[in-house]
Structures are given as C-alpha cells and as structure tokens.
C-alpha cells in the first residue's frame, strides 16, 4: 500500500472511530439530544 493511501485511511479511520465513540457517549450514555412530537396527535387521542 502506498504511503499516501495509508495516511488517508488513517485520517478517515481516526475521525470515524472518534465520531462513533463520541456519538455513542453523547446519545446513548448522556442522552444529549432533543425529543420532539412527544404528545399523541389530538385527533387520535379523541378517538
């Protein structure tokens, strides 16, 4: 494998791993995201 390929793959892999781990931490552990449309729609509630 060429040196340039190794550099590109390493950069992408580091960014991906970091991003996945941080997303997992932020979303699954910290639950740091907005939840919308919580209430059921009015018409279905009336039914």
């Amino acid at each position: 494998m060429k040196k340039s390929d190794k550099i590109l793959i390493t950069l992408v892999l580091i960014a991906t791993c970091f991003s996945f781990v941080y997303s997992f931490y932020k979303t699954v552990i910290k639950a740091d995201f907005d939840v919308v449309n919580i209430e059921p729609p009015i018409d279905s509630a009336q039914e």
């Binding site: 340039s4 590109l8 991906t16 991003s19 995201f33 449309n37």
Partner: protein
C-alpha cells in the same frame, strides 16, 4: 419516554425473529441475502488473490450489510437512545456504498487504481460525514411518535445529492469505457454494459426508495430499498462466472439453505400457540427435504463438470508430453546437423552440405512450430507465469525493428519507425512482449508485397500504444472474427504463407490480455491493416 411506542417496535431488546411486529419480508429476504452477499464477498476475495477489485467488492457487501442490519435494528429496537444512535450512523454507511461502487467500477473497468486526487475527494467526503455524525448537521432531534430521527442538512443536501451523482458517475465510467473499446474487444464491451445495468439498477433501487420513503414519509417504500441487494447478488454472480468459480455454487446453495433453515427454525423458539408451532415445524421439515435435494442436484452438476474438466486437462497434458518429446527429437537432430555443417566431423562434399543446410533449416522451423504450439497451450490453460519487471519498451521496439529491416528492404518496402520522445518504461515481461513486438512486424512484412510498413510507439497517460501499419491486402469481412482465435487463418494469409500455424496472433492476444492491456486492428481491403496493442504502464496491485 425511554422506550419506543411505535407499533413496529418489539417489546424486548434484540428480538429479531418476532415476526408479529416488523414485516416478515424484512427477515426472510434481508438476512439470507446479507449472509450470501458477505459469503460471496469473502470467497471472491480469496479466489481473486486479494486483488484490489475483490477488496472493493467485499467493501460494498460489508457496507451494504451493515446498512441493512442497522435498518433491521431501527425496526426492532425498543429503546429511544439506542434507536437515535442507530439513525445517527445510518448516513455514514449509506454514503460508503456509492463511494465504493464508483471506486469498484473504475478499477474493474480500467484494471488500475484510481488517481490520488479521487482518493483525496472520497476521503474528504467520508471524513466530513464522519465528523458530523454527533452534530445537528446530521440529526436534529428524535420524533417520539414516529420513532425516527429528524435528519439535518447533511442528509438532505449532501448524502442524497451524492447518491444520485454516483449513479451518473458509474454510468459515465461505463459509457466512456464502452466507447473507447475497439469493436473487436466484445468481452470488455459486454462487461461495461453489464456493469452499467447492474450498478444502475442496484444504486437506483437503493437510493430512490430511500429518497421517496423519506420525503413521502411512507416507510413501506423504504422496505424495497434493500431489495437492491438481489441485483447486487446477481451482479456478483456475473463476477463469479467471470472468474470461473463453479464450486461456489455448492457452497452458496448450502449457505442459503442453512440461512433460511435457521430463520424458520428460530420461529419455534418464539412463544406461540401449538398450531403455529406445528405449521412452522412442518415448513422447516419440507424446506430441509427440498434444500437437501437442491444441494444434491448442484453437487451432481459440479461433479459432472469437474469430470469433464479433468478429462480435458489430461488430454492437454498428453498432448503437451508428446509435443515435448517431439521438440527433444528436433533439438537433438538439430545439434547433430549443426556439428556436421560446422565441420566438427571433417569436410563434406558441397552437394551434401546443401542437403544438410536444408535439413537444418527444417529442423529449426520444426522447433519453432512446436514451441509455438506449447505456448498456445499454456495461454489456453492460463498457466503462463509472467515476470513483470520495469523495462524500456522503446529500446525493444528499436532493436526489433532494426533487426527486421533487412527483410523489408529485400521486398523493397518503405520502412518507417516513429517513436515520440517520451518515457516508455513499463512494467511487463520483456520476453513475452518481445514476441508481441516481433509478431506485428513479422506479419506486416510477410503479408505486404509492396508499399510501406509503419511502426509506431506513442504514450498515453497510463499506457503505451504500439502499432504496426502495413499496406497489404487487408482482412476480409468473413475473416475478421477469426484473426485472434486459435488456428484462425485469414483466407488470403494461407495463400501467402501456407506454413502459418494460425497461432501467432492468438498467443499475442493472450500476452496482451495477461498484461492487462488490449489488442485490436483496423483494416481496409486493398489498403492494408493496422494492428494495435495498448499496454498499461503499471500492473494492477495484487496484494
């Protein structure tokens, strides 16, 4: 609010096989397809000696499988936080599929790696998408009532546009290859057409279902997206046929029967009433009987093909052995005659010397004939071992054209060698390419009675083009398909050279193809023929 309330969710974590909630199609069609796709991907990787294109094919299979598994996850997951994470990583795997499809199409069609600039663009796309995963550019919020994430700008303005663009890029690559391939090279043309149809269907079904499902909020449409995997498997089957992997049929059938049996059998583990369990058990037994019969039939077919293949190989071995023996006899006799002509056994009368020289020439021709035959056999069986090393093709063309010039001069032919002043160092087998260069010139001189011969070498960005133009009789319409075939003589060529074996251009074509290049000709009756050979500068990386 920690758990999902949507009707398509299941009550407990990872209960994949509870068919009462998510559509049965999801499990029946997706999971065996994933198993088969991954299996084929790994098998081709091993069979194709870990080549770049097989790695990319596996990359598509893996990305697609992860994307589909993630989709199943979204349908079955019970917890909001995990569901949200699953939605967040979807665009990342979704964009890998078009990127790898473009990469694969380029390598498959051009037999070489993509340029560094394209790698930088692809890496930039993946990098950008990766770093936006945890941000609002990717997902804005989670819609509790609809059990899905609301996507941000990345999905709507980046992923979708690139997905559509990928279809056009792959088609552009295929059309470009098709138009640039000579009429004679029908195999490459067919490959470009099949790749274009297969990948367009695959990518279009996959992406259109995503786009339409997302915009119309009709998730039944999304369900059809992964059915593109069927086209993908069909496409891989084409690859298998190309590599001649017959035995994979048996393993693939076994994998498919096993995958579906597991799926049906797993339903027995889910709590249900006795009638359902009896129906499921009966289905499983019936499927196993049918599956075993299918495996047996495929096995018989493979055994028959293997037996035929062995018979053909034995025949070829016998012919090769006999031919080797004949070559041995020729060589021994030639050595004896050479010694007599050299005077090693003392002087001989002139009339006997003439006979000896004539016999020596016949022996020499005989050795060449046998060697040519053996080489054609090696090409046919695919057992040629090329020794790829960098060398200057220009020097080789200059040497051989100078060597052949006296023959052209003896026929009073105008003889021109035109080589532009550029770098012609290529990775190739010098011994075999010598045969290619020599064959074109030899044929041109042999079949041209008057006029001219022009030998030309020119450089392209990633290849060199070698051509020899003659002003001979040209190739008749009825002979055009025979030219590169085994024992394929032109009607007029037999009149000029009755001793021709009809193997020269067949061998030369094998050599060019073995170097990842292409060979073709242009001809006009009464005006002459030009033979072309395009050889890549570098051989595709195998490992």
């Amino acid at each position: 609010m920690n758990t999902i309330i949507c009707p398509d969710s299941v009550p407990s974590f990872l209960r994949f096989f509870d068919l009462s909630v998510a559509p049965p199609l999801l499990f029946y069609a997706y999971i065996p397809a994933i198993i088969v796709a991954l299996f084929f991907g790994f098998y081709i990787l091993k069979k194709d000696n870990y080549s770049l294109q097989s790695k990319l094919l596996l990359g598509i299979a893996v990305s697609f499988s992860i994307w589909v598994l993630n989709l199943i996850f979204q349908w079955t997951i019970s917890y909001v936080k995990i569901d949200m994470f699953s939605w967040q990583i979807t665009p990342f795997f979704e964009i890998l599929i078009p990127i790898l499809s473009i990469y694969f199409a380029y390598v498959f069609l051009n037999k070489k790696d993509i340029p560094l600039s394209a790698k930088i663009i692809f890496s930039f796309l993946v990098f950008t998408l990766a770093i936006t995963i945890p941000t609002k550019f990717n997902t804005l919020s989670f819609d509790y009532q609809n059990c899905q994430a609301n996507y941000g700008d990345v999905y709507y303005h980046f992923v979708y546009i690139f997905e559509l663009l990928a279809i056009f890029i792959v088609d552009y690559l295929c059309i470009k290859k098709y138009l640039r391939t000579s009429k004679e090279d029908t195999t490459t043309k067919k490959q470009a057409v099949i790749l274009a149809i297969g990948s367009t269907l695959f990518l279009t079904i996959f992406f259109l279902s995503n786009i339409l499902g997302e915009f119309t909020k009709t998730y039944q449409i999304n369900l059809f997206g992964p059915m593109g995997i069927l086209v993908f498997i069909g496409f891989m089957t084409f690859m298998i046929v190309r590599y001649g992997l017959f035995q994979i049929k048996l393993i693939a059938t076994q994998a498919l029967v096993l995958g579906i049996s597991i799926l049906i059998g797993s339903q027995l583990l889910s709590p249900s009433n006795i009638i359902d369990e009896v129906v499921t058990a009966s289905t499983l037994v019936a499927f196993l009987i049918a599956g075993l019969y299918l495996i047996r039939s495929v096995k018989h077919e493979i055994e028959a093909k293997e037996a035929l293949k062995i018979a053909n190989e034995r025949q070829a071995e016998t012919t090769s052995l006999i031919t080797h023996q004949i070559r041995g006899v020729f060589t021994t006799t030639k050595a004896g005659l050479s010694a007599v002509i050299d005077g090693s056994y003392g002087p001989i009368p002139q009339n006997l010397m003439d006979v000896m020289k004539h016999m020596f020439k016949s022996q020499e021709d005989g050795v060449i004939e046998v060697q040519t035959f053996l080489q054609a056999q090696k090409i046919e069986s695919g057992t040629v071992q090329y020794d790829f090393k960098p060398f200057d093709l220009k020097t080789l063309v200059e040497e051989l054209s100078a060597k052949e010039k006296p023959r052209a001069d003896s026929k009073s032919l105008e003889y021109e060698v035109r080589i532009n002043n550029e770098d012609y160092v290529i990775e190739g087998d010098r011994v075999y390419l010598t045969q290619l260069v020599d064959n074109f010139i030899d044929n041109a001189i042999r079949y041209t009675e008057k006029g001219s011969i022009k030998i030309q070498l020119s450089r392209k960005p990633d290849s060199v083009l070698y051509s020899v133009k003659d002003s001979g009789v040209g190739i008749k319409e009825e002979d055009k398909d025979k030219i590169f075939t085994k024992y394929g003589h032109g009607t007029d060529s037999r009149k000029i050279n009755s001793d021709s074996s009809g193997l020269g251009l067949y061998i030369v074509k094998g050599i060019v193809v073995g170097h990842g290049g292409k060979i073709w000709y242009e001809t006009e009756i009464g005006k002459g023929t030009t033979f072309f050979a395009e050889i890549p500068i570098k051989q595709i990386t195998k490992k």
